[in-house]
Symmetry: C2
Subunit: 333 residues, 2 copies
């Protein structure tokens, strides 16, 4: 371990700054020390490259000032934006964020949780693989505070989600108000909890008007693209489409390209607003999720748990409203 022999210690910093070791220690625990000592310690620590040993910090404070975030992936603008905001929110609280991704695989999720346990993170924000149970998570993280983001998986966990059912109903009703009677609902992995709720909302709106729901689903986005392409070429295909994620929206637009059908010939409402939604050939009508608010509530919830060491608070379920943003693809404008 020669790496660490060369690293400066707290005592080195104290000597070089001309202060007591306990002053340096106070500085790194975020406690008050008066100027100009504070600035002197900061400058010397930076110059020497001193970083407190996390094990020592954890032993003193019980905290590593690190939050773990486990997401399916970041090649999806909803999650990449959410992660960016989590980093900002955690940083404002003096915490680093470690991101790990599970690609919707149970085994990969277990590895992520195992890594976060090894690294003794203070709390975890988790968008769980379908089928995740409380027992499964607690086996990997016996006591670490956990917040479920975007997907519910157990009532015992603080959960921050979109009002998925209501938002899907709103989107479907909007298409139906445009006079469509055939609306297909398009998604990957319908077993994901938020997609399940959205599907329920869609089905509810269809059935309420005596219409037959039609679900087009697949296990991944390439397969979905092919399946939508086939549907677009079928004679009796629906005139309107509801996509349950921004990546499903992308699959539909690529499928139109694949089979040479103008995407403008189909009414479309998609879940998730994103950077290019207004820039595609027919600007997209979408359900915008309150990502900022969802992230803020998740981060607040995880820090509340971290500070409530006795875990006396009852688990919270926070559901936030989606907003219908009308552009051209639904038939408006």
């Amino acid at each position: 371990m020669d790496d660490f022999e060369r690293l400066p210690t707290l005592t080195d910093v104290a000597k070089a700054a001309g202060v007591s070791p306990s002053t340096v220690s106070r500085y790194f625990r975020g406690l008050h020390i008066r100027e100009p000592l504070r600035e002197r310690v900061r400058a010397v620590a930076t110059r020497l490259g001193y970083v407190p040993d996390p094990t020592a910090v954890a032993l003193r404070s019980g905290r590593t000032n690190t939050i773990g975030v486990v997401l399916p992936q970041v090649a999806n603008t909803f999650f990449s934006r959410a992660f960016q905001l989590m980093v900002e929110e955690a940083r404002a609280r003096g915490c680093a964020v470690l991101l790990l991704t599970h690609q919707e695989e149970q085994a990969a999720q277990e590895e992520c949780l195992a890594t976060l346990r090894r690294y003794k993170v203070d709390g975890v924000i988790l968008t769980a693989v379908p089928g995740t149970t409380m027992d499964g998570v607690r086996k990997m993280l016996p006591r670490t505070p956990v917040v479920a983001f975007d997907r519910w998986f157990a009532d015992e966990v603080d959960t921050v989600v979109l009002k998925n059912f209501e938002a899907a109903r709103l989107a479907t009703d909007h298409l139906l108000q445009h006079g469509h009677t055939q609306v297909a609902c398009i998604t990957v992995k319908p077993e994901i909890d938020s997609f399940k709720e959205r599907t329920r909302g869609y089905t509810g709106a269809m059935v309420a008007r005596g219409l037959r729901p039609q679900l087009v689903s697949a296990d991944d986005y390439d397969e979905l693209r092919d399946r939508v392409g086939e549907m677009l070429l079928a004679l009796s295909e629906p005139g309107a489409l509801l996509t349950l994620s921004n990546t499903a929206t992308w699959s539909v637009l690529k499928a139109c390209e694949d089979v040479g059908v103008a995407s403008s010939s189909r009414a479309l409402v998609g879940f998730d607003d994103f950077d290019y939604a207004s820039l595609v050939q027919t600007p997209l009508t979408v359900i915008r999720q309150p990502v900022d608010d969802m992230v803020r509530r998740s981060v607040v919830a995880v820090f509340e748990q971290i500070e409530d060491a006795s875990r006396r608070a009852a688990p919270k379920r926070i559901s936030l409203d989606g907003e219908l943003v009308c552009r051209a693809s639904c038939g408006c404008a």
Copy 2:
């Protein structure tokens, strides 16, 4: 630390599996043990939720099987795609990946490196903030293998980059071959090394034809969007645009929307291909970076360093070709 009292130990696993502790230890070090013992250890470890203590593992093997990745951000499809591939490549080598982001801030980058040092990662892949020096990195990570991804910052570090100069020259020449004589080059943060190289390539192509280069730059994408909007409204504005990143391309398209100018009225070639490049109103001609290959080379380089404990290999600089993908925005088709 009661969390850890409740966690199963290696001895618990050995007892429950009816094998010796050294067999369990061998299993978790990836060494050969014969079936059915191997399967028994795996099953019992999963059932009990046993995870080896990383400190103990690190003491034995000197490794934590964790790679740190430090990127500017992931709300940029180039980086989100790169990260996703890094996770896959590292996972194939039995390693977890921790992602941290610095948002182009030097202080945030130092915090990221400090976190990775605390967590004793085996290696780091870094897209560095402009102004990063070898000394600065070595102060935070005295000996950890480091690979520079997408941006050079010091000759002493293995570096994997696009042939930025050549790719920008290719893109500019293509616009000039379409007969344009006024081409503006649009970027944020021109001090970023890869943008510097691209600007050099653009300038070279312009000057070679006796044309005057015109650089439009800003410190962030909102400011860039406003600045491009002003340029589009100016009388003498250029007929063609070269954008140095996919986010600069987005700024241009949004600026066109802002000021009510059809983006199709300007020829455009942009750096970075991305999911929606073919789906915007005028499909975009782009320089496609070989992201997969860039990632693979970076991961190979970091593992080579990890395994070459004596660090005898000379630092490598790997530069890969960009590809011009012609769609409609340049004037082709």
